[in-house]
Structures are given as structure tokens and as C-alpha cells.
Symmetry: C2
Subunit: 395 residues, 2 copies
């Protein structure tokens, strides 16, 4: 049987080095009043913000800006919305890493509401957002979250009762995504590494998800092919190479499109629970847990026998793709599954992705984490003891 | 260098057998007043129209319908718009083959205007459409044009001064595409054949287009893999097999997404010129010209030497994909190019695609046709004598 599927809309995408310039032609399509949501420092340090401001002034476009520090909290979003609610706003532009893009997405959606974003977060509030928003243009400066193509904004409140939850609606997919690899050139090595691991995690998890379709499979593979060759070089000798940065930016963009349609797995289940309890960069959680989580998934899939065969095959295809083999004929499933695991482990080591203990997480936290971890669209059921086993190896 | 690209938005897609049912949940999202644009007979003959009407009545949704006969002309669109301009309309739903989907798309865009569609057609009128429209839901009942995912509506006026031109705007991409292979089950063999050849032509032309990107390449290959195995069976013993119909519907949908982003080649250049001058089904023009046009493209690419290598490689990849070989390692380019040509020729013969002479086209028409034929995004330049050579073989 041919599987049924749905595809959420995707943004209009403008991809390529130097394409930030298209922003100045795009804004007037929406109007003359822009709110910029930007990161706290990198855009300003690089001189890009001065350039943007002066282009805005030359075009006589009214603009204001909000700076975001760290991952967006409900308070941050509510206060930002409060600040701009009475301004005339035609379009919101978010330029930054995943946190900034998510903050901009949330602000553009919450200026149409008169209460806190907390009320609309999945699993936190009781209201459902209706999708009304100010048009939104997303411009990533890291290659990781793919948030420029997704329908959700992740909002975090760190603490014992903390959470990392989404404001989600089909209509929150940005109207435009400008993906300009030049903007990622100044991204530091550790961020490039953790963001790159996040992007690959998203591609892999969406590819092996039970919700995957031919459509998401095609794009996930296309993204993984780019990242597998670019990930290590982009964190080393190719950090300033625009082609390598473009490959990572493409992989990240694809990861956003596929996760919006096929969902994610247990690694992002952990990212949600751990991210709500501790201050750990999202990409680090993904990077440090990916290899062990995949090893556990494969072990469980093997135990399933016939029922697990499809899942094993899909992992093997990724292993084969990593070795440059796209042919399925005579594919040695177990061999290529081990290629996948070995590669993920090697990448984690080569990229010096921090272990969880670096962020104050200890073995005594494991039970609390496991309790709050959902499997999302993981390809196989995992028991609490399986989750514990993964965590113990990564602390 | 990593190529730059743009991606137009795509519709929200609901794909699967029986998914027509989702329409009744979707309509209220837009409002209570629907205009249906449908074909002249097949939907009514199959009893589907009665089912839709009774569901509408049960839900107390106000609806009216317009029936379309043949390919939409400017007069047909203008008259339809005239008829409904003063109705309250919240959403337009087009259910039918490519002509019906295009007619619905054009009507939903022209009710916001007060003059003829002719003024807005590319290469015919002088005005540019601004993209304002009534929301549009497209539901194909053939697997061919992919119009449910494109930003243009093809409008035809047949005659000496005839044309086949597009109303085009990013915003004309349907809001939703419901692709339900059950609706294609009753499609007759000859239509399945010519539509299938059209879809494959679109996938191939977009794949070898100079405007192709990694994004369109991934989806074009994904579509071709489905069609290459389903095309002949769907016109024979598998006409009532839902999985085979779904494979064709998927390929057709992908063809719409990739053509909207990568453009088409000389076969669609011919389809435009010939379709404006003679009453020939669009799919027949594509089907009958595809093999010879591809043969000519390959001949010219070979002559180009190094410059033609990339084009040859892409054709070879399609040949290899047809043989089930997705590996590029040691790919024998010339062998797989000939596999592609041989397969296209075989398909055209097996499917009994009519030759152009069946529609009154003779050798004396060749000069006129060539004069009006544009190359669009063909991978290689062709001279008028090359176009003549293609046509002579197909009359």
C-alpha cells in the first residue's frame, strides 16, 4: 500500500550567498513598518547590523529592533510583544540562530493576542493559537535548527517545573526564508559543531520516523548527503569556505522542512525534557545523545524481527549514503547500520561535543529526566530502562 | 560553487486514498460559501458529484458550480467570473483534470479584477497580476499536469493567432491540494497514458533544467522512481489498483512542484506553440515529442564536449534510475543515456500515444510551429533546424 501523508506548506525560499540583499526588495511587498528580532551581539559585531540599518534608512523604511539573549522564555516573548503591540507593524524579520528565529516567530504570532504565550504552548497552556500573525521573514545565521522552515517556535523555561515546549500552527511557517551562507561564515566552531549535529539528528529522525513519506525521505536524504561531507570540514579547515557553509545551510533547511512534516524521535524527546530542566544548548543535547540513541533504536529494532526490518533498512540506507553508496541492491543491512553508528560516534568525538555532565547533569538526575521524556515519533518503542541506559552513557 | 536557488511556496498537501473526505472539514476553515469548478461529465458520471453535493447540503454550506469543457479559454474564464462576481465567495474548489484545475485557479484569481484575463497573460497582455485571489483548493482527477502544485494557470485560444499562455503569480499556488488516487481510478487508458507521459516529461525537463537545484533534483528523482514502474501497468492490468494509481498521482504532484521551481524544456515549448495552433491534448504533444526531443538534446550535449558533460550526466542518472541503479560510481554515461532514449521510445509505442498527424498537423505546418516555439529552460540551445528535425519525426 502506498502510504498517505500530508505536507505542511513551506516558506518561499531564497537560498544563496549574498541573498540577504533580497530582503530590501522583499520588505516593501508587506509595507513600510518592520520589527527586527536579532541576537544580542554577533550580528552587531560583524557589522551586518550597521549595514542593514543604513539600507533601511536609505529606503525610508520605519524599523525598530528587539535583541534576544539565549533561548526565548515566555516572559521574554510577552515583554517584547508588550513593547511593540501599539506600533504599526507590517512585517517581522528574525535574523539569528534558532533561538532568535523562534523568538521572532513567536512575537509575530503573539502580537495578535492579548494574553501570555504560556496559554498557547503545547502541554502547558489550554488555548490553541488560531494562526493569525504578522507576516514573518526568517534569516538564519547558524546552520542547525531549520526553524526558518518549521511551523513551531520552541519556548523554554528552565527549572524544576521547567519546560521546553512549542507554540505551533501551520500558519506559523515563515512567509519567507532567506538562507544566505555568508551570514554563517562567522559562526564559531563549537556552535557550528552542535548546530550541525542538531541538523543531522533532525534529518535522521525524520527519515526513520513512522510519519516519514516519500516526499520527506527524498529531502532528508538530499540534506544528509550534503551534511555528511561538510560537517567535519566546516568545523575545521573549511570554516570560511562558502561552498561548505552552503552545504550545511542546505542540510539545515531541509531538516526544518522534513521535521515539520515527519516529526522527530527520542533524541528530541530528550532535548525537550533536558532543555527544560538544565541550561544546555539544544545542539549539544542532540549531538551528545544521537549516537547512543541510534544504537539503542537499532538494538530494539533487531529484537523485533520482521516487524523491525523496515526500520533497520532505513538506518542502513543512511549508513550506505554516508559511504557514498546509494544503491539498494544487495544492501548489507547490519553492516551499514554499524557504519551509521560508527560514523555518529566518530563525529561526536571529532567535534568535541560536550557531555551532559559539563552542564551539571549527574546520575541522580536520570530518573527525573526519563519521567519527562517523550518518545515523539521514534521508530521503535523504548522503555524507561532503555532511556536510562542511553543517558548513563552520555553523562 | 553551491548553486543558489529559490523555492516557491507549495500548497498544503493532503495525499492518500479516500482523502477527498477531508474537503468537508477544510471548507469551513475558509467560510460557508463555495464555488466548485468541475469537469463536464466524469465527476457527475462517477456519482462523486452527487456525493459531494449531498455532503455540502448536510453541512449547510452554500455552493454553486461551474462546469468546464476542454481547455480553458479567456472567454470561458471571463464569463465564469462575470457569473460569480457578485456572489459571496469564501473559497473556490477545482476538481478535475489539468484544464479544470487551471480554470479554477484562474477564476479564483480573476474575481478580484474587473477586466479580461487576456490582459494578464504572459506574452499576451500588458498587465501583471498582483496575486490577490479567493483561497483555492485543487483536487486532481488525472495524474498528469501537477497543476495542483503550480503557480500558473494555462489559458488557451486555438487559431492562427492562437496561444497557450499562463496567468502566473507566486500567490496562485493553491492553498490546499487534496490528492486522492481513488478519484483517478476511473480515468480512461488513453488519458492515463498521455497524462503520465506529461508528468514524466515535466519531471525530466525540470531535472535537466539549468534552473534545477538540489531541492528540485531530490523531488524529481523521487517522482520519476514512482512513475517508471507504474506508467505501463496503470494503463493496462493495474488500472484499478490503488497503489499503482497512487504512485502515478505522487509522480504527477512532484512534477508540479519541480516545474514551478526549475521550469521546463523544449517539449513544453512545443506544447505551448502547437497547443495554441491546433486542438491537441497537451499530454499527447508531450508524449509524442519527448523521446525525439531528448534524443536531440543528447546529440547536442555530446557535441558540446566538456560543456555538455553535466547535462549528459543528469540524463544518464535518469537512465540509471530507470534500471533501478541509483549509484553514481563508475556510471557509464553514454550507455545510460541510451537506456533513457530507448525507454522513452518504448513507452511511447506501448502506450499508443498518437502522432501529431492524427490532429491534422502536416509537414507544411512545421515552419509556423518552429517560429512560435521557445526553448524555455532547455539544457542546451537548439537551432530552428533542430526543432524541425524533431517535428518531422513525430508527424
Amino acid at each position: 500500500m502506498f502510504s498517505e501523508f500530508t505536507v505542511a506548506s513551506i516558506p518561499q525560499i531564497i537560498f544563496g550567498a549574498g541573498k540577504l540583499n533580497e530582503l530590501y526588495e522583499l520588505i516593501p511587498k508587506f509595507g513600510n513598518n518592520v520589527l527586527y528580532v536579532i541576537g544580542e551581539s554577533s550580528l552587531k559585531k560583524s557589522g551586518k547590523w550597521d549595514e542593514i540599518s543604513s539600507r533601511m534608512e536609505k529606503k525610508a523604511i520605519n524599523f525598530s529592533e528587539i535583541s534576544i539573549r539565549g533561548e526565548p522564555t515566555p516572559t521574554l516573548v510577552d515583554e517584547a510583544v508588550q513593547k511593540v503591540r501599539n506600533h504599526k507593524l507590517d512585517v517581522v524579520v528574525g535574523i539569528g540562530g534558532g533561538s532568535v528565529i523562534d523568538a521572532g516567530k513567536a512575537i509575530s504570532a503573539m502580537v495578535t493576542k492579548h494574553d501570555s504565550i504560556k496559554n498557547y504552548l503545547e502541554g502547558v497552556g489550554t488555548k490553541t493559537h488560531d494562526g493569525r500573525k504578522i507576516p514573518y521573514i526568517a534569516i538564519p545565521t547558524t546552520s542547525g535548527t531549520g526553524s526558518e522552515a518549521t511551523k513551531n517556535a520552541v519556548i523554554t523555561e528552565v527549572g524544576i517545573e521547567g519546560f521546553k515546549k512549542s507554540l505551533r500552527h501551520e500558519n506559523l511557517i515563515p512567509n519567507y526564508a532567506i538562507v544566505d551562507p555568508e551570514l554563517v561564515l562567522s559562526c564559531p566552531k563549537s556552535t557550528s559543531a552542535s548546530c550541525g549535529m542538531d541538523a543531522f539528528t533532525q534529518l535522521l529522525e525524520a527519515y526513520v520516523s513512522p510519519k516519514a513519506s516519500l516526499f520527506t525521505d527524498a529531502l532528508a536524504k538530499s540534506g544528509m548527503i550534503q551534511i555528511k561531507d561538510a560537517l567535519i570540514p566546516v568545523c575545521n579547515e573549511k570554516a570560511l569556505d562558502i561552498t561548505t557553509r552552503a552545504a550545511m545551510a542546505y542540510g539545515s533547511l531541509m531538516s526544518g522542512i522534513v521535521l515539520a512534516n515527519a516529526g522527530l524521535g527520542v533524541v528530541h524527546g530528550f532535548a525537550s525534557s533536558i532543555g527544560g530542566m538544565f541550561k544546555v544548548p539544544h545542539g549539544v543535547v542532540c549531538g551528545t545523545l544521537l549516537a547512543e540513541s541510534t544504537r539503542m533504536n537499532l538494538k530494539k529494532l533487531e529484537h523485533l524481527g520482521t516487524e523491525g526490518k523496515k526500520g533497520l533498512l532505513k538506518h542502513a540506507i543512511v549508513g550506505a549514503l554516508i559511504e557514498g553508496n546509494e544503491s539498494l541492491e544487495g544492501l548489507d543491512i547490519l553492516y551499514y547500520c554499524s557504519v551509521l553508528i560508527d560514523t555518529l560516534t566518530k563525529w561526536t568525538n571529532q567535534l568535541n561535543i560536550n557531555r551532559l555532565s559539563e552542564y551539571g547533569i549527574t546520575k541522580t538526575d536520570i530518573d527525573k529526566i526519563v519521567k519527562k521524556t517523550s518518545l515523539k515519533n521514534n521508530p521503535v518503542h523504548l522503555k524507561p530502562e532503555n532511556l536510562k541506559e542511553i543517558l548513563i552513557t552520555c553523562i
